[in-house]
Symmetry: C2
Subunit: 325 residues, 2 copies
């Protein structure tokens, strides 16, 4: 039987909620439980289950790696929040706020090890391949986070550099989740590679969509405040393309807003958005998103299972891409 | 052929020096190279090689796990230094001083992943066992570090709690290194367990020795300043036993020194050392060290290889235990 994404998401949520860490000391494990109970889309475990479900039905057989990828993802959020000095995550205070920075570092370290322990709970026939892919992905994600931090200090980030950064920071984990699901399901190398590429392209489209929503999202639906990226001078696809297309006069105005110290938030958001509109980067970003969606669809088409089995992944792609929040 | 510990140490040092990380970005990998080039005893990789060498001679066959255990150990030092706000490590500025805290967190994360990648480079026949033991050990070390941080805030740490903390924070990694070496060498379960226990007891003796040297070491030989633990109120074996043995009057004097805010360092060190001497905790600590050394020797005796092959491990134990620095 084919499970729907929403059914799988419910199953993952229940499974994650029921996880208990009986090891000692509580001071190390309570933050882990806290982070995992914050919820979220559970996108990565759901993708792993969906890929597996293209080939097999006993989704309960792969709870180890499914749990591993979600624990891993939450460790990256935990450490990223420390590095970004973020106070809130999904509306709740972050671990270094509830406890302290040292606890956040150490519990994050423990979560990375726990992720490996869960990930290693997979059948012998593919354990080496699964762990090798997982390690490579985890290393790439460190590289992406490092690039992201370096780009904050730079004004000359190119489109290619930006796409490479989001590929490493975000997309490889979606790709890895799908490929591990496929490998666990016994897929051919061709199929698991195609699902990997599907995830990669979906991930880039997803992140570009994030950039787009931050400026052009519907404030009534979008969870965060519109214009947050503009206020913190985040080098998004929109900003990079705006600089690329601007003449000297507009470039100077953009620069002035990046360097400005005294302004009302609304004023800066309106001015930068107006420049984006004049430069046509809204459409440009939309086109780029569509391009990556098409690439993802092409990759999915290469997966050699009946079309009706792939419908759920295609629906998920569409849902994510035409989401409002 | 049996390699001496010092020969193996040279080989490890050369191997670690020659490691190059060709991945990008440099901002992530330069701190890794920096940390690994700081040197140190390379005790854990040497122990792994010595255990392996009890059964096999081709030590070059296990460079993967040997490198993995040293990269892992250096990741723990890197993150511990961030958590302790330590400025120096082996006389050189720490990573968060040379770069910054975020770089130290992230490069440490990358080193943990790199450690797994090296560790996974081992023959299929024991890969699962090796990785499972490595993960369990890495988790225990997080637990030990958490306990260590919690103990800083407590005044009622017992001897048993303290020994459990140093077992988790320090000894399990020595034990793990030896057991992985034995497993890679094809040792029996009995032998690899005995070597694990040997490492565990050696580790506890080693850490107690550290506490002892900090107060009673020869200043001319001891690398750090004598009395460092006393100055920072570290709950060492000596302090815990002193509190346990002290009458109310001496307990009050110890408490007063722990809470004191205005004093010269020499004064505090002399006063606390005098209390230790009166309470006989110097001898008590020495006896405890000897007890763990004997236990380690008993474990080594259980390893079913010819006595002459075990000589080098016994020598290393003696060297470490009667070291002056």
């Amino acid at each position: 039987m084919m499970f729907t994404a929403s059914r799988l998401s419910e199953m993952v949520n229940r499974h994650i909620e029921e996880l208990t860490f009986t090891r000692y000391p509580e001071g190390l494990y309570n933050p882990v439980t806290y982070v995992l109970s914050m919820g979220g889309k559970r996108l990565r475990p759901v993708l792993m289950l969906m890929a597996y479900n293209l080939y097999r039905e006993q989704v309960e057989d792969i709870w180890g790696p499914v749990t591993g990828i979600e624990v891993y993802h939450n460790y990256t959020l935990l450490h990223d929040d420390v590095m970004d000095h973020a106070d809130l995550r999904r509306g709740k205070p972050t671990v270094h706020k509830v406890w302290n920075e040292n606890t956040a570092i150490l519990s994050g370290d423990a979560m990375l090890v726990l992720a490996y322990r869960y990930m290693a709970q997979c059948p012998a026939f593919c354990q080496k391949e699964v762990l090798d892919l997982f390690s490579l992905t985890a290393l790439e994600i460190c590289e992406g986070q490092q690039l992201d931090m370096e780009f904050e200090q730079r004004k000359d980030v190119t489109e290619d550099e930006y796409v490479e950064m989001i590929r490493l920071k975000t997309s490889v984990l979606l790709a890895c989740a799908l490929k591990i699901g496929a490998m666990l399901g016994g897929a051919s190398v061709g199929d698991s590679d195609a699902l990997y590429d599907f995830g990669m392209n979906m991930g880039v489209a997803f992140q570009l969509q994030d950039d787009w929503l931050d400026v052009y999202g519907d404030p009534a639906v979008f969870g965060k405040n519109i214009g947050g990226d503009i206020l913190c001078n985040k080098k998004t696809y929109l900003l990079i393309k705006a600089f690329e297309r601007a003449d000297e006069a507009r470039k100077a105005r953009l620069e002035a807003w990046l360097d400005a110290v005294s302004y009302t938030p609304e004023e800066k958001i309106a001015a930068v958005t107006a420049l984006y509109d004049q430069l046509g980067v809204k459409e440009l970003c939309r086109q780029k998103i569509e391009e990556y969606i098409r690439r993802a669809q092409d990759c999915l088409a290469l997966v050699s299972v009946p079309v009706e089995k792939k419908r759920e992944l295609e629906n998920l792609l569409n849902e994510l891409m035409y989401r409002k929040a």
